[in-house]
Every structure is written in structure tokens, then in C-alpha cells.
Symmetry: C2
Subunit: 353 residues, 2 copies
């Protein structure tokens, strides 16, 4: 380890390398980026100098000059939701493969925070954005909308004009999930959602309603709103389960709602699928730990991540065509928590009429 040529203190710059290699800074740049050919002997000198100095190009300066940061901003409502964690994880992985890095921010389901984060990302010159907006309308971005770099909306905000959007086919998934329950003989199916103002949720509600309609039991539709907290959902569901005409099946339309549903069922000393069937929207690996194993409508998280990144990258490289709206199909995982309504239950209901 010698210190020859090592400027103590500040890290070496391209000028230091150039000086040591006896070439111009531009030549160093050309060697390192490969944009223009450089004679072999100079290339070697430059490389040697780079190695000797431990030179690391300052990405900041390069970004400023190139007007490209190779950074994309991701804004999601809540990283502790495994769905979003998985989404971000995969996007990061894919982005890294193309030498893009991600600036991650959580909006905490709050429009104002979201708007602020987007502003920050704009100021930071991110090349692109992937957002799962807190609300489906444009209010949050209204102020910044005109200055947005290529932006993909994922999970939420599907179809908003001006954006590439990616989402699961929530309508179809909810419909199929509900049909599954119907086919088991359930007629009293309660749908638990976190919030009705979100389009992905209202799509699920629509799918649920349509499935009931087509089965001729539209009037049995019961949608309850539990909010974004587990205990909010739990409370709402408990109330539902305490009624005389207790539902025979619960369809929890979000991660939080599933947790709330299970907690509610436990709290009342009931069991699924014996007393109520349970179907979850969103599948997580931890569900395999549940006994009974919860049936679920699984969103294609990986594909959503892949598709979001694909679309964004196309825009970044200028290959993008017309704005895309990608709906990805969910898969229905029929497992142990959904069964025909129990005889005992049917009898009780019968008696109560």
C-alpha cells in the first residue's frame, strides 16, 4: 500500500487522473464511458491512473451534465404492507439490472405527504416515477403534473389520463372469488374493504356485486368498511359476526382486512371454515403458516413489478408507444378456509326465520 499520487483529504477527481495519466480530462471520460475511441496506450495509462488513485467518477456531476440521473422515484402508501414491500423489492431488483437506483418514499396513505414527496423527487431530477397513489384522482399531483417525468401508476390510479398504468384485474378477481364462495353454497357473503374511495377497491366491490347479481342474490350484498387499521377492520367484522343473521362467508378485500377478519373470528371464539368461510384478497407467504390455510385471491405482484418497470424503462429509452393500461390477472388459490356453509349453521339460520 503506497500513497503515491494519492491526494489525501478530498477524493480524486477526473483532473487528478488526467494529470497522472498525462492526458486531458476528456480523454479519461472517453476511456471510462467508452463514448469515443481512445488509442490503446493512452487507455492503458488512464486505467492505470484510475486504479492507482482509486478514482470513482462522481455520479452527481455526471448526472448534472448528462441531464439524466439514472434514478427513479418510488412512492407507495405503506412499506409495511407485504404487497408493497414485495413490489418495491422486485422493482429495485429489475432496476438495478439496468443500472438504475431507486429513491423510496412512503406517503402513509396521505395525499399531502404524497404531494410533498413527489415534489422532492421532481427537484431531485429523477428520470422516472413509479407511484401507487394515495387517491385515484389527480389532486395530489395537480400542482406538479405538468413537470412529471415518465410516470407509471401501479395498483392504484388505473387508467388516469396521461400515465402508463398497471393494476391487477381487481374486478375479475373479486368476481371469481365471490363466485367460488357462491358455488360452495354461500349466499350471505360479507365483503370487507379498507376504503371505498380507491378505484382498485371499488373494482373489487363491483366484481363482488356482479357475481351476486348474476347468481340472483344481489340483495344479499353486504359491504363493510373497516379503514386502514387492523383493529378498525376487526371491529367492523366483529359487529357483523355478532348479528343473528351472521354471514356464512367473509371476503376480506385487502391485507389489513384479512388480518382484521382473522382477529375478529378469533375474538368471538369462532373458527374458519367451520363457522364462517374466509377468503382473502392478497396472498402472502406467511399465510402458509395459517391453519387452516387461507384461500386467497393472489395478486400477481411480481408481474406487476415487472410490467411497471418494463413500461417505465421503455419511456426512459424512448421506445415507449401509446400510453399503456395493463391489467394483470389474479389467481384464485382455493385452500382450506373456504367450505360449504355448515349444516349446523344452515339449521340455525333456518330456525331463526
Amino acid at each position: 500500500m503506497n500513497d503515491i499520487g494519492r491526494r489525501t483529504g478530498k477524493p480524486p477527481t477526473i483532473r487528478d487522473v488526467a494529470q497522472l495519466a498525462q492526458v486531458a480530462p476528456a480523454t479519461v471520460s472517453n476511456v471510462l464511458t467508452g463514448r469515443r475511441p481512445v488509442a490503446e496506450d493512452r487507455t492503458k495509462r488512464v486505467l492505470a491512473a484510475v486504479a492507482q488513485l482509486g478514482y470513482r467518477p462522481n455520479h452527481l456531476a455526471a448526472s448534472l451534465r448528462r441531464q439524466e440521473t439514472r434514478t427513479i422515484g418510488i412512492v407507495i402508501p405503506d412499506l409495511t404492507n407485504p404487497f408493497f414491500a414485495a413490489l418495491v423489492h422486485r422493482i429495485e431488483e429489475l432496476a438495478a439490472e439496468s443500472d438504475y437506483q431507486i429513491l423510496l418514499m412512503s406517503s402513509n396513505e396521505d395525499t399531502e405527504q404524497e404531494a410533498h414527496r413527489v415534489e422532492v423527487l421532481l427537484a431531485r431530477q429523477t428520470d422516472g416515477l413509479i407511484i401507487s397513489p394515495a387517491r385515484d384522482d389527480l389532486s395530489a399531483f395537480a400542482a406538479s403534473a405538468a413537470d412529471l417525468p415518465p410516470t407509471v401508476l401501479v395498483d392504484r390510479g388505473f387508467g388516469l389520463p396521461g400515465f402508463d398504468t398497471v393494476a391487477a384485474d381487481n374486478y375479475d378477481a373479486a368476481k371469481r372469488g365471490c363466485q367460488h364462495l357462491l358455488s360452495l353454497g354461500h349466499r350471505d357473503i360479507v365483503l370487507v374493504v379498507s376504503d371505498t374511495s380507491l378505484a382498485n377497491i371499488s373494482d373489487r366491490i363491483a366484481g363482488y356485486r356482479d357475481a351476486l347479481s348474476e347468481a340472483g342474490v344481489a340483495d344479499r350484498a353486504r359491504v363493510i368498511v373497516g379503514g386502514f387499521s387492523v383493529d378498525g377492520c376487526r371491529g367492523a367484522i366483529e359487529q357483523e359476526l355478532r348479528r343473528a343473521d351472521r354471514p356464512t362467508a367473509i371476503f376480506s378485500a385487502a391485507y389489513i382486512a384479512t388480518l382484521g377478519a382473522i382477529k375478529a373470528i378469533r375474538a368471538l371464539d369462532l373458527a374458519f371454515p367451520d363457522n364462517v368461510s374466509l377468503l382473502s384478497f392478497d396472498d402472502s407467504d406467511w399465510m402458509m403458516a395459517l391453519r387452516p390455510y387461507v384461500s386467497a385471491v393472489a395478486q400477481p405482484v411480481e408481474e406487476m413489478a415487472a410490467e411497471s418497470w418494463r413500461l417505465l424503462k421503455q419511456r426512459l429509452t424512448g421506445e415507449g408507444g401509446a400510453l399503456a393500461r395493463v391489467r394483470l390477472p389474479c389467481s384464485l388459490q382455493v385452500r382450506e378456509s373456504t367450505r360449504p356453509p355448515s349444516a349446523a349453521k344452515a339449521k340455525r339460520r333456518f330456525g331463526s326465520i
Copy 2:
């Protein structure tokens, strides 16, 4: 909406604002940053121009000049692990409060990827780093070590020289967890870990062993290694559960191991705590969905995040003192999955001697 003074195409720069406000660029900067006083009338003119142009300071340029990016890099092994998701979530939240943003990267438990990510972060001039290293030795950073900005190691790499480090008190937590099982009467407690090369894991192993020693049953120690996959752990545990001298309790020392343990127990048609008690290291909100509710040693994720950020921020603002090593206590959550070994079980064991 008029377009007066609006340069179409490129976003407005500080020069545009200066020109419109009839002042020098420096004055605009002073108004916006508040570093130097500016006369009131000029201030008003500048602010008006800023509003009219929709000027947004280019953070990139400011960073380059200031030699400070207000960006911190976070490198974690795996975002799909709820522990790390929660950690990142909280750090992001805290950092945002101080106007720092985070560049997030996953190492995927891989030293090479990790080293590469760290290099990228260095090139990007991040002001600080928070890393949960894939290995406890310095190999990954050896090349970059000298050039690292203030760096906090969290969860792993505790006590590595040259770093502020934060970790749960794994030794004590495992010991107390094991003591809990011992106090219930268990003597055949198997500890399931992902990997033995990690210091946090070996601390857990040590705590486990010491608890057994102090109870005079050091020879009953059984540590099995399942790797970083759920099914790896499941397989290893199944094998253990199939033995004639099946353990009466399983202590799963990591998120993945807990999942594997539950899966294994289910696969063999056993139940906890009836056939085996189960104690989990790492607590997640989804565990509340388990029936029975799994007892767990909970790492103080929020505090670990807070402490990491606090230490890092101190270094960033130059208030930092001597390198800190912070051990945070875990809490033992005794719930339903840990019970005294069953009579039936005891009898069977007795008969098999």
C-alpha cells in the same frame, strides 16, 4: 394561465428567475435558502418570479456545489423480510422529517451484490449509509472501506471496528426465550437457525446454549441449520420432528425459520402447542392471525430504526462522539404456542427409553 416569462421546453433555472426578478442569481439563492439577508422589495420580486415560473431548485446542482446530497443509502439483505421492511419504513419516515431521502438497495444476502451496491452508493455521494451487511466480516467493504461516509451497521455486523453499530440483544433475548421454555418443563428444545456464520445468529445460539447450560442440560442442545429458504428450514425441521426422540419445543431463530417450522408441523399433521411448543424469534403483525397465537421474542424494530437514524444523523451534523455500540433489549411475548410438554408426550418419551 398565461405564459409570460415561461420558457417552454426546459424547466426554468435560477438565471431565469433572476432575470425576471431583475436581480442576480445569487440573490435568488439567498432568498430561497435564507443564508444572507435580502431587501424586502427584492425578496418579493424574487418570490413572485419563482411562483410565476414554477421554479424548482435543481437539487442535483445544489448537491454538487454544496458537497452534500442529503441522501442516505440503505442496504439490506431482503426487503420481503417484514423485519427489514419495517426497519426501512421507519428509517425513511425519520429521515424524511429531516429532509433526507433514501436510496434503497437489496443485497439479496449476497456479498458480491452488496459490495457492488455500496460502490454505487459511494459514487452517488450519499452523505451516509445504513447497512445490514450480508456477512459480519468486512470483506464486502474492504475495497471501499477507506472511502465510506458515516455508516451505521444495523442488526448485523455488531461491533465491527470503525462503525456505529446497532443491534438487538440477541444473546439475552434467545437466553430468555429458552429459559421461558425451560421453565415450562421443556428439555428437548431444538433451535432452528438460517445460517451460523452471522453474528446475530450465533449470539442467539450462544444465548440458547447458555440457558441450557445453566439449567444443567447443556448436552441436550440441538441446533439445526435450515438456510435462507422457508422450505430449507421446513425440511430440516420435519426431519427433526420425525425422530423418535422428537423435541418437545422448537425455537425458531428467524422469520424464515418460523415459517418453516409452522409449515413442517402442519406437514406432519402435528399441532402446536399440543405436540410441540413453538417459540419464534421475530414478531410480526401477521402472527396475530395465527391460531394459536405464536409466542415470540420481539425485536425492537422501531427502536433499532430510530437509533440507527439518530446515530447517523449525529455523525452527519458533526455532533457524533465516540463510535457507539447500541444493544437494544427484545421483549418476550408469551402467548399460546408455548405450553408445558404434554403428558401424552412425556409418556411416549418415557416408553421409548
